[in-house]
Symmetry: D2
Subunit: 424 residues, 4 copies
């Protein structure tokens, strides 16, 4: 972890500037009838989960270029996640991926306590073969034509639940790459029936207080068809499985040009929004840093979320899911967590009463301007103040760089192997 | 109509060549274990509906360039449709669009009898304002914020049903352009609730032996959001409305790269495929001639349809829906009807037993080849022989051109106005 | 025009708030080492041209829903454009479209003087047929297979230059819809050779101090191929024609996912960026209000422009090109002009020295953050102050609504016809 | 290699059926005025190169599932390529990738002679780091900000030329992944200038009888910008470098919906088409088997190529470039080579005189039908007869499966490691 006094000293040095910015923003918001402190408190209470695999350097099928001091195991990963939360105060939970992060539950809990973290949704992995595995997932897992392979995949998911229960997780996330690369390779309907059959077996093993999140993706690793290819199919799954099943939305898993915020609204309306894998995308499942490409789109998603706050049983899970190919993963995750907070803060500023009026009157221009007025507001001082007050860093990236954390762990962690492509 | 003796003479002249081609194909198919006559009979029994508006020249928002002898009213349109059916034997039904085609039911029935046609699904129009209309659809119709506007749109749909009942139609197709051009302009959920409310009122007016088809479209005329934007939303609509409600699939209404045949399979699996608007597309809702751009995609759709033949209550409606901007609409519709027949014939040739085996074995290459073997077969002689035997033309376009039909109607029909954009 | 005292009164009422916001921003920017007054002066000097056709209500091929008081002719349009410039101070020039705006040059100049406007690039129209036109553009214009049709299109462009010279324009913009709807319809190479031949004839008629702008577009009105389909082809045109020929970039004319700011950079690098048609797009050539969908993309374009300021002979033309289907066009154009100014102001705030350092060091995260820091800054007070000081309105939309201008012109202008699709 | 007598026996067994099909097709083509033997001879003379890396199982960033008997080195790969050529007679050349295939030139030449193959274009690799490499390509290679890294990449390309000269290659293909993942990360213009500078150094080392092929790609491995992102930039490169530089077109490297055959036509027109990487794509650089997804698109590309035959200096290189994730790579490459032949044969059947007439007359429907008539023709018997006569297999996949080749090499080759992602 980073030395607290270093953080405090940096915060102290930045304090006057922050106060000036915060006060000026407070006055400006006050003129708009908004209480800055109320916004700040809601932002301070907001958290987004970190994916354990996100702290390693990502890659593509062409190459992976590891950085210094890459985490070698789940405990290293939790250390890195602890630093992220320490500096941002915005990432209280970590989501594990099994078998990558498989370990003794007691050890996991101990490390979590040490790093000040809790465990978010468990992620199963049936898109790769593991050494010694009886049946290959080359041609699918939960939807494989072979019953034994499907059973193995179901079993793995049940194991993830079992492990998750021991460490305080309350959800299982299933993403599979099952699909096909050729027209004709798979019978669409039989394949989906097999998927549903397997998913029902997993669902049957779900504890009463757990949720099951299924995630759609348009393509990759399958390049002609994917069994859970869009939100329509994913919605059917959640309906077939039952009340504990919900749909996960990853911002990069859609067809080009698709209106994602509208999908979010539809899933909320029908009670099936499970949560998010936040990232950003220009071409496909690029897994870029959240809001790096289209910050207004992220805001529009949060506009839907804030609009639905207070809906009964509305409690979507928020997680980052990114591939950090050219940055220090800790820095990217800190920044992305702050971008998610930023979008949330901006969405809180929307004058919803005015917006509703413009919508009712079909005053498209003023409706658009109402959203834009919130989006344009630079809420940085609110985020900074929320961190300042919780003991996190006003400027996390700067504090992290000054801390020497990366160089320190590079001394003790083994040098990562750059061969092969990158898996994220 | 075209003089029958002209058709017969042309057929006679082409007969020897057709026999040679047909016999050679018959022998080839026989070596593959397929009875050509059985395929021919199924093709002969197949029909696709013509949209009444398709016989007029289409256009874009930039311009419309009318051709000679454009139909001036629904009776002219039925004449043109009659010619298409006479020459192809493949288009026994016409789908009307109201109010464009509104007329005395008795006159419509008389004209249908004269032209040898029947009436397919009725299409309502609440995406345009009509002269004297009380409420404008500028900001929506079935989902408008204003209750009176919604009521007017519902009323119009009920009128379409009423008229349809008098002329033997058994289905209503609803497509609306309702949506928004700005983030914030419409509240997604409230808008969709209003849509559902209105649609339920229409559904309540549906006769017991009718079906309701709703059609999704990604964009245009709305350019930020569309209330029925994809098959997922459309499926929700069909579920909410009831057993008589089904989803229509237009091949150009999807996001880029989307796997359309998979959507078809999903809708079949869940009992909600209503039918098709056939056309082709390279960029968006281009409404190009069917199979002009990607004939293999059309084949893959028909592969799903043939695979599902025999499923209880499986009876999708088949209709063309194209915009003919640079061709004689009669020629394009004849050609497109034959392309649909071609894809059907090819799909009938798929060795489904072999395919199922390859799928079970995950033999992707041979599965793909099994489809390709059917697609590659030039079934032209089968289509020609089916026409020959029913008295239609072996070569409809050639027969049409020789008939002088277009020049003849150009003498009597008023010259079309080229101003304004083209509506299709 | 709007009564100046109304504007002044509204400005007076908003003055205190503006001062407070402007001063707070000034102090904040000062802490970042930026002089707010210098930014404000550059914004105040910035102008974007208005397309004459933008003040009419747009539409789609499906419908056009006209608003109240639509301009009936070019003089009405200039009145509306005058109001836009009066209230925003940001739109000093109007771009005419011929023959839509054809009129006596003396009358045009008189009206321009009356409304305080000048004339920007001339736009020719060979994508529509005009009454009495000898040769139709149904199958193309500058690239038509028929020499007489090409000659007619060339002649029209030369006429546009001639008229433009009389009213002080210094550029001709050519956009054609020439292309094809079927594979095989046009021979790509011969078609492009014909285009180049015609374009050279137009170029030969260009005065020495004029520029020729050609504009690419991926699709629509042609739906299989378009002769000037992308910037690569457009660049070839500009190279073939000569030093006065440059490429125009419309933000909605690209393939999905394309990196537009990179195209801008390439054209600048090779000396061929002619200018812009600003608007926004989610699906295709949606012609939505500038920055309505993706404000960060607009900023990234301006980041390239500001980065290249000072390059010899670098003088791109800036124009809006939008279709206003659901808003009052005057309001949309005012707002869009301000959005363009906003992006310019934000781009001026980029710390280019820091950015260059991060780029050199491959510090991707800090490079991204450097752009974001500029984009996040709410520059509204800078824009408002620039307007305030020039006598324009602090809040143009509010001032316009209060002025009653639309209702007033609706009294005198003929009611627009809603039939047909909308042409923009 | 496969035992020749096995091939001969299988051919003998299929001979009667082939004769019947070939004769029937010959008669049919004769009725269309086409000499089947002439087509067959041209098909027989046609060859497409195999990428050495294509004979290994591909993968994605998520996983790679190796098959049995994967080639362990370049000599194994050449054995596999030899089998492909033996059975299809269509793949006389292999394209090497350095350093993956680096070996003693004498050994390479000996193996080539043994397998009946020659060497096609050399491929350099500066998108991965190799063990012991002085400078990392994490942030780019030919366009890296660091001069020493660029020099290292240039040096590697010169080495590839040197090696290629020793084994009879006549071309170097450069594809780099250089780009950026964040707006701001790279300065577009400086980056491209660095690329051009490095490329000029490589070009300077090109022997007089060599060609340099550069290849564009829209995205991946870079996800915000790519330095050679489209054919426009690639064309600029070829122009800047000189007469020996040409552009390579990979069918999966374009933006969604792009008209690829038109790009091919443009590059031919301006003398810069270098050749192809054939494969098929539904979503992005999917690297699926050629013609697996859209066979008509491949035909339209070949339609351009056949149309340009005879143009001086027109000699594009043809190569497959695919990733075989779920099939036996040898089977996929055989099939794909035959698909390329098929498209060539179909394009040879186009009635170009009739087509030119329809184009001149703007008879879009008949122009489209003229292409379709050629495409619909099942040319399988022509391809089979060409193989039969050259001693290759009538049915290569069947012969290969019966040969037991894969099982045999699996005995001697080391078992492949499935860890890491797949690189293709």
């Amino acid at each position: 972890m980073i030395d607290e006094t270093t953080i405090a000293a940096a915060n102290e040095a930045a304090d006057a500037t922050l106060r000036a910015d915060y006060d000026a923003l407070g006055e400006h918001l006050s003129r708009r009838g908004i209480d800055i402190a109320a916004i700040k408190d809601r932002v301070a209470a907001y958290g987004v989960a970190i994916p354990s695999w996100g702290v390693g350097t990502g890659g593509t099928r062409f190459a992976r270029f590891p950085g210094e001091g890459e985490p070698a195991n789940v405990f290293d990963k939790l250390d890195d996640c602890g630093v992220i939360h320490q500096l941002t105060g915005a990432t209280p939970r970590v989501s594990l991926h099994i078998p990558w992060d498989d370990a003794d539950p007691a050890d996991l809990l101990a490390k979590a306590e040490e790093t000040g973290l809790a465990f978010d949704a468990m992620n199963s992995n049936t898109f790769q073969d593991q050494p010694g595995q009886a049946h290959s997932y080359k041609y699918g897992s939960l939807s494989h034509t072979d019953a034994a392979t499907r059973a193995q995949a179901v079993e793995h998911n049940l194991y993830c639940i079992e492990l998750g229960q021991k460490i305080g997780s309350k959800a299982l996330t299933i993403w599979v790459g099952d699909g096909s690369n050729f027209p004709g390779q798979s019978h669409f309907t039989k394949q989906f029936e097999r998927y549903l059959g397997s998913a029902k077996e997993v669902y049957a093993g779900l504890p009463a207080d757990w949720r099951l999140f299924t995630e759609h993706k348009m393509f990759e690793p399958a390049f002609y068809s994917t069994v859970v290819q869009d939100w329509g199919t994913n919605y059917m799954i959640a309906k077939e499985l039952g009340a504990q099943a919900h749909c996960l939305v990853d911002l990069g898993h859609h067809a080009p040009n698709v209106n994602i915020e509208m999908i979010v609204a539809r899933l909320i309306q029908f009670g099936k929004l499970g949560g998010f894998h936040f990232n950003d995308s220009k071409y496909g499942d690029d897994d870029l840093d959240t809001a790096a490409i289209d910050p207004y789109r992220l805001f529009l998603v949060f506009n839907e979320l804030v609009d639905s706050e207070g809906t009964p049983d509305f409690d979507p899970a928020h997680m980052l899911d990114q591939s950090h190919n050219v940055t220090d993963p800790i820095e990217s995750l800190m920044n992305s967590a702050m971008e998610v907070q930023r979008a949330y803060a901006q969405a809180l500023l929307v004058d919803r009463s005015a917006l509703a009026g413009h919508q009712e009157e079909n005053d498209a221009l003023m409706a658009s301007e109402t959203l834009k007025a919130a989006f344009r507001t630079d809420v940085t001082p609110i985020l900074q103040m929320a961190r300042r007050e919780s003991g996190a860093a006003i400027d996390p990236v700067s504090a992290y760089r000054r801390s020497g954390y990366r160089a320190a762990v590079a001394q003790t962690r083994p040098k990562a192997d750059g061969s092969g492509g990158g898996i994220v």
